[in-house]
């Protein structure tokens, strides 16, 4: 009885410690609590997988550090997939605050596959103006971005010889945390230049994109950390990568956190009903 009364007013700090530990643990040592791949992520994976080797995949980094836990793992997973399939990766972005993240990915990932900057991957940087940038890239990428993010002329980068404008690129994956983002790529790049558009979004904004998926305008969608984890698993399963999977680890944390909260609620209710019965 006393035990239940104690439970009812359990020190919140115990709750915090338990939760903190259980969330941290899987990050250090992923458990792989069975992330299964949903159809939306599978569609994106298939689309990227079916691009012939040597072609270029465009990835738009439209998010800032605040959405990094959800969207950055998507960026690395899609890049790993592309490099494993011998695709080239062109990065660009509609958010100025996304530059640091794109640079990080462009430096960290290619060496894993022996890929080189300029030959297999190029980051264009950020240019203000959304529709003007996309439409300009449709005409000629060099008009919008004469130089890459670090000021190297695009003419000096061998990869850009085959990629003149959006029509040379079969598909774009827009990783967006809001607007501007995938909707702009749909509105301009898809309707005008017929590009395939796939997207990765934060969990909060994913629901808005489902109609586009149903109408077939979007080729696949990764929703939040779960979507990122699904993609990581797909990449791993196909033996494209053996790297640490941050989103899968995060999903484990996520699962444990949800379970902790639910167990807490159950314990709280048991204690509540037991003490109430005794009292009455």
């Amino acid at each position: 009885m006393k035990f239940f009364q104690y439970l009812l007013k359990i020190d919140r700090r115990i709750i915090y410690i338990v939760m903190g530990l259980l969330v941290t643990l899987p990050l250090v040592k992923p458990l792989g609590l069975g992330v299964t791949s949903g159809p939306r992520a599978a569609r994106l994976f298939q689309a990227v997988d079916s691009i012939p080797a040597g072609k270029t995949l465009l990835i738009s980094v439209d998010f800032d550090p605040a959405s990094m836990p959800e969207l950055y793992p998507m960026l690395t997973a899609v890049m790993r997939h592309a490099f494993a399939k011998n695709l080239k990766v062109l990065l660009c972005g509609l958010w100025p605050t996304g530059m640091g993240l794109a640079i990080k990915a462009a430096t960290d990932i290619p060496p894993e596959y022996g890929k080189k900057y300029g030959e297999d991957v190029v980051y264009l940087g950020y240019k203000p103006g959304v529709d003007a940038v996309i439409l300009g890239m449709g005409e000629n990428i060099k008009n919008v971005y004469p130089y890459d993010y670090s000021g190297r002329s695009l003419d000096s980068l061998p990869m850009m010889r085959d990629v003149q404008r959006l029509r040379d690129i079969p598909m774009i994956v827009a990783l967006s945390a809001g607007t501007p983002g995938y909707s702009d790529w749909l509105a301009y790049a898809q309707s005008r230049y017929g590009m395939k558009v796939g997207t990765g979004l934060t969990a909060v904004s994913a629901a808005d994109a489902y109609p586009f998926l149903q109408s077939g305008q979007l080729t696949g969608l990764l929703a939040g950390m779960k979507g990122a984890a699904e993609y990581e698993v797909l990449v791993q399963k196909s033996n494209y990568s053996k790297a640490y999977m941050p989103a899968v680890a995060a999903m484990d944390s996520q699962s444990l956190a949800h379970v902790v909260i639910m167990i807490l609620v159950i314990i709280g209710n048991i204690a509540y009903f037991v003490t109430r019965k005794r009292r009455s």
């Binding site: 919140r12 309707s191 017929g194």
Partner: protein, 386 residues
């Protein structure tokens, strides 16, 4: 001159290729686009002409849009096959333009005839917003009518709102315990309606605080809201007959940054150990940060917001929560001022009207499935917004 030019142009590229005649019969001839219409884009600020057409057959792979204006004919757009419309925003007002569209399939290009010349101009009334105007006029009449009725002294009933009945008790409790009351008027600006509602409630709460002689702390995130809140509290103390009890630094500005504000108010609650917290107005993600810290200090908490996404957190962490519209009813409820009660009545009739429209509209729309009533299918269009 212009039609002549168009004719000339039409004769050129549209001439059938020589191979056509030699080809075996199964090859279908590409049909010209049909029903090409060009008109001034309605309800806009001018400088725009809208084009619409339909496909003559399924063969077309792309469309060309050609405009002929003072500067002569010019192809202004290439559309993908499914894209049968164009918004020309590169025109000048009150200048005549003619358009024609070509269907393109492989090497074939077949032009439509030119449209009659049209010009663009700005409009003075946006007819697409007629629905909003009607709704506004109807609701305004309701508000004015019931306020006038209230002025004549008709007694108006208001149902119980638990969170507001608790205000008196909460203020009294603070006096008994000798602890302060914290009132956060939300993080919105003064242009946010919930903030205005909250400030009105603050006025009523401050009156009670002055009567009970408790201490009041009002941290603010918006500088203008801070100024207004300060005036309101000062005024309330004066109205309660205790202008001397108003302390200058009881209403203060913290910072305009959301989470820095939350951090500071958290600190304030932990250190001042208030008896009562009010969180009324606009709140975002910080709602639970504030409410949970407050709950841990053991304060009675009364919250209210019109931010649907934050309501669950207030509901779980606070003792009383004003849900959505209850926040707007609060100042009328607390002050019992007939003018404010009148508008509450108008709001109720407004809601009733919305329900009537929704039910009747739905019935008619469902009836439109029956061929005889198919006219009703246009009802949904009335609620399009633009």
């Amino acid at each position: 001159m212009i039609p002549f030019l168009i004719l000339l142009l039409a004769a050129g590229p549209a001439a059938p290729p020589a191979t056509d005649t030699a080809a075996p019969p199964p090859v279908q001839r590409l049909a010209a686009p049909a029903g090409v219409k060009a008109f001034d884009t309605p309800n806009d600020q001018g400088k725009s002409i809208t084009l619409r057409w339909s496909a003559g057959d399924a063969l077309a792979q792309a469309w060309l849009v050609e405009r002929t204006g003072p500067e002569g004919p010019k192809v202004i757009s290439t559309n993908a096959a499914g894209d049968i419309g164009y918004l020309d925003e590169d025109v000048k007002d009150r200048i005549l333009y003619a358009y024609r569209i070509a269907a393109v399939a492989g090497a074939d290009t077949v032009w439509s005839g030119p449209t009659p010349a049209v010009s663009s101009s700005p409009q003075v009334f946006n007819t697409a917003r007629m629905n909003i105007l009607i709704a506004m006029v109807v609701f305004f009449m309701l508000v004015v009518y019931y306020i006038e009725t209230a002025k004549k002294g008709k007694n108006l009933f208001v149902r119980r709102i638990a969170g507001l009945d608790a205000v008196e008790e909460a203020v009294g409790r603070a006096t008994e315990m000798g602890k302060p009351i914290i009132y956060v008027p939300g993080l919105g600006s003064v242009a946010d309606l919930a903030t205005i509602a909250s400030l009105n409630i603050l006025g009523e709460v401050a009156k009670k605080v002055a009567q009970y002689d408790s201490a009041l702390l009002v941290p603010n995130r918006d500088p203008i809201v801070y100024t207004v809140a300060r005036e309101m509290v000062k005024e309330s103390y004066a109205k309660a007959g205790r202008p001397d009890a108003f302390k200058q630094d009881s209403v203060f500005f913290v910072t305009d940054q959301q989470f820095a504000f939350a951090a500071a108010v958290d600190g304030l609650m932990v250190r001042e150990k208030p008896a009562t917290n009010f969180f009324l107005g606009m709140f975002w993600a910080e709602s639970l940060i504030l409410a949970e810290t407050g709950a841990q200090t053991g304060a009675i908490q009364i919250a209210g917001t019109d931010q649907v996404f934050q309501l669950p957190f207030f509901i779980t962490a606070c003792d009383y929560t004003l849900i959505g519209e209850e926040l707007y009813a609060a100042s009328a409820y607390l002050s019992r001022e007939p003018l404010l009660l009148g508008s509450l009545k108008a709001q109720d009739y407004g809601k009733l009207l919305i329900l009537v429209v929704v039910v009747v509209g739905s019935v008619l729309l469902l009836l439109s499935k029956v061929p005889a009533f198919s006219v009703f299918s246009h009802i949904a269009g009335f609620f399009n917004i633009n």
